[in-house]
């Protein structure tokens, strides 16, 4: 190789390349290459790039807060919060109560968010308390607690005394429908707020702003005394205890924060998506969100706001672009299969990385 006589203080480029690949991680590189290839095919087959980019942006904005919700849990040392559906359920209950009371517009959205937060705080406290007692198995307990809550709530959706005829089954007269529309209530309220077009790409300003606001709140929170305390207790529980910080408390705070964000996240999601999905729909919601965060560069023990933003953009773009693009090449919906492989492959990779333990 030509680099054999390079000066000692300069790392050979090949080693440097290896280092940076290790830093980024091979799966992440593959995913980025995959996305570029998808856009390449889209350009080559003269697809409407503007609408693809617009849809990607919209979906990223829509899902952003749900991904962001994972950040406090990692910061607090709880790991990947697979119990995200617990918060999601709180948000859904908030939305359903609002819809049932027929409160519309900005008041409706505000009421949904307020109810979501009000429910998520006690739920998050209880969840955090449980996670403190099951240290070392947080991810598994979170996953199955989420599953149990979602399936238990299925009974609630059927049996709860909601009466608004637009929500319940028409024939039986009771039991909420599996999908509730929010059109006419607060459908795309944030998406349309100050929305504008750039080169044919429509920008969902309001939803993006809310996502940015949530990011700023999380970022600022971890600069406050309480936030720094949480991070300190995570990085060195013993030292923190010596300084008078109980990591039991900070972990509960982190879990609660995460649950509240998930609850708000699903309200923003529903507003943009236009539908509330009840029953089994929230069951697997944590996994794509976790995959987003990991694709952005986070690990089981470390995550930043940059990881949230980049990961959400990358993964949601793939999900948006894959279906229309691959359907031009392969018949049948291969994008759902690709999603399963990418999403769970990424989580597996993160779980089995040795440096993380």
């Amino acid at each position: 190789m030509a680099d054999v006589v390079a000066p000692a203080d300069r790392t050979p480029p090949l080693v440097m390349l290896q280092e940076s690949i290790r830093e980024i991680g091979i799966p992440r590189l593959l995913i980025a290459v995959f996305l570029v290839a998808l856009f390449g095919i889209a350009v080559a087959t003269k697809m409407d790039i503007a609408s693809l980019v617009g849809d990607s942006l919209l979906r990223a904005a829509r899902n952003g807060i749900l991904v962001l919700a994972l950040l406090p849990a990692i910061q607090g040392g709880v790991g990947l919060n697979f119990g995200l559906p617990i918060g999601v359920i709180c948000g859904l209950v908030g939305c359903v109560i609002t819809l049932n009371a027929a409160v519309t517009g900005w008041t409706g959205l505000g009421l949904s968010v307020a109810l979501a937060i009000a429910l998520a705080i006690p739920a998050g406290l209880a969840y955090g308390w449980l996670l403190n007692r099951t240290r070392g198995q947080e991810m598994m307990v979170g996953t199955y607690l989420g599953f149990a809550v979602v399936s238990g709530m299925s009974i609630f959706w059927i049996a709860a005394p909601f009466t608004n005829p637009t929500l319940v089954w028409a024939i039986a007269g009771r039991g909420l429908r599996t999908t509730l529309t929010v059109s006419g209530v607060y459908d795309k309220l944030l998406d349309r707020l100050w929305s504008f077009n750039v080169l044919g790409v429509s920008i969902p300003t309001g939803t993006l702003l809310i996502f940015a606001l949530a990011c700023a709140v999380v970022g600022l929170f971890f600069r406050t005394r309480a936030g720094i305390t949480i991070a300190a207790a995570r990085s060195n529980p013993r030292f923190a205890r010596a300084a008078g910080i109980s990591d039991e408390r900070t972990r509960v705070q982190a879990t609660m924060f995460s649950t509240v964000l998930a609850a708000v996240g699903i309200v923003v999601f529903a507003q943009s998506y236009g539908f509330l999905q009840l029953y089994t729909a929230p069951l697997l919601m944590a996994f794509p969100a976790v995959a987003c965060l990991l694709i952005g560069g986070a690990s089981v023990t470390r995550a930043t706001l940059t990881h949230v933003v980049i990961g959400t953009l990358l993964f949601q773009s793939i999900l948006t672009v894959a279906l229309p693009v691959t359907s031009q090449v392969v018949q049948g919906d291969i994008s759902e299969t690709a999603r399963l492989i990418i999403q769970n492959g990424m989580i597996l990779y993160a779980l089995t990385r040795r440096s993380d333990r």
Partner: protein, 377 residues
Amino acid sequence: MATPDAPVTTPAVAPPVAAPRGARGAALRSVLARSAVPVLFAILCLIGIIAARLTPEFLVREMLVRFSRNAVLVLSLLIPILAGLGLNFGIVLGAMAGQIAAITVTYWKVPGVAGFGLACLLAVPIAIVFGIATGWLFNRARGREMVTGLIAGFFANGLYQLLFLFAIGTIIPFADPHMVLPQGWGLRNTVDLFGIQYAMDDWLRLRVDLGGSPVRIPLASFGLIALFCMFNLFFLRTKLGQELRAMGQDAHVAATAGIRVDRNRVIATVLSTVFAAWGQLFFLQNMGTMNTYSSHEQTGMFAIAALLVSGATVSRATVGQALLGTLLFHTLFVVSPLAGKALAGDAQIGEYFRVFVAYAVITVALVLHAWQKARRG
């Protein structure tokens, strides 16, 4: 059937024979605590049975079928628990191996016991490869084997779809118009397995008159289930079984004692995966039809929930518990929708309830396990 109560791991309490008075009280309390879950579950089943006014004949009929269908899958969970790997959520991969084999023998049109036997043989190498891969993942993700197994199942499901939805009929030559989608590639959503249906159940044909109509007694299947039970009991007495038990108690100590922990963990996973593949084949030969893309998905969850309702835990499970759990869980499974219909006028509530129970039982077991571990550590 083999002695059902031989523990797979050493019992948590000393035998009460020579124990002093206080310890005997503690032992009694521990037995009570351990049987609380199955007793509670039995009461739940009983309430459902009374509410839905089910006849004993109906229950016996259902249980004969469901027990022989699911017992092997539940038994396949025991060895990883012994080795300290926890609940093997990766048995979904074993189920996939079984389905790949079932699809192959159906394509080759090998019927009857020969077809079933061939499927069992074919499943072995596939399951071994899957088991080694899962075991390798488990070794890299030590301490989080369960969540890794769960995600590995989801991931493998993606690859499975890739294989059967897209590769079959395009890359892999496969031309059977009854099995392939009209477009010429990709497998249909359901595969008819009538070639191997009841191959095992009716191998030793036996019908017993029950309430006026004959009922199938799957004699050969029960025989094989008994064989699996005996293997699990015998396995404890082998050198490998003892090594796994030592690892389950303390992997660190086991390693210092010269046990090759990593290798043994992979072996335990492989054994479990192979058994799960056979278990899924048992399940399929009884069903006679297969949902290509979803039959395997909930295998892990239902098998694990069934094991846990017997009072088994993440670190301790016996053959007897596996059998009892299968019986109890599937009783609830049958009863729940019917009771829901009788009590609330809506079968849907009962259906949601049984899924909720499955998840809740797993959650509670996980919480208790982690709780105890955290208190000890």
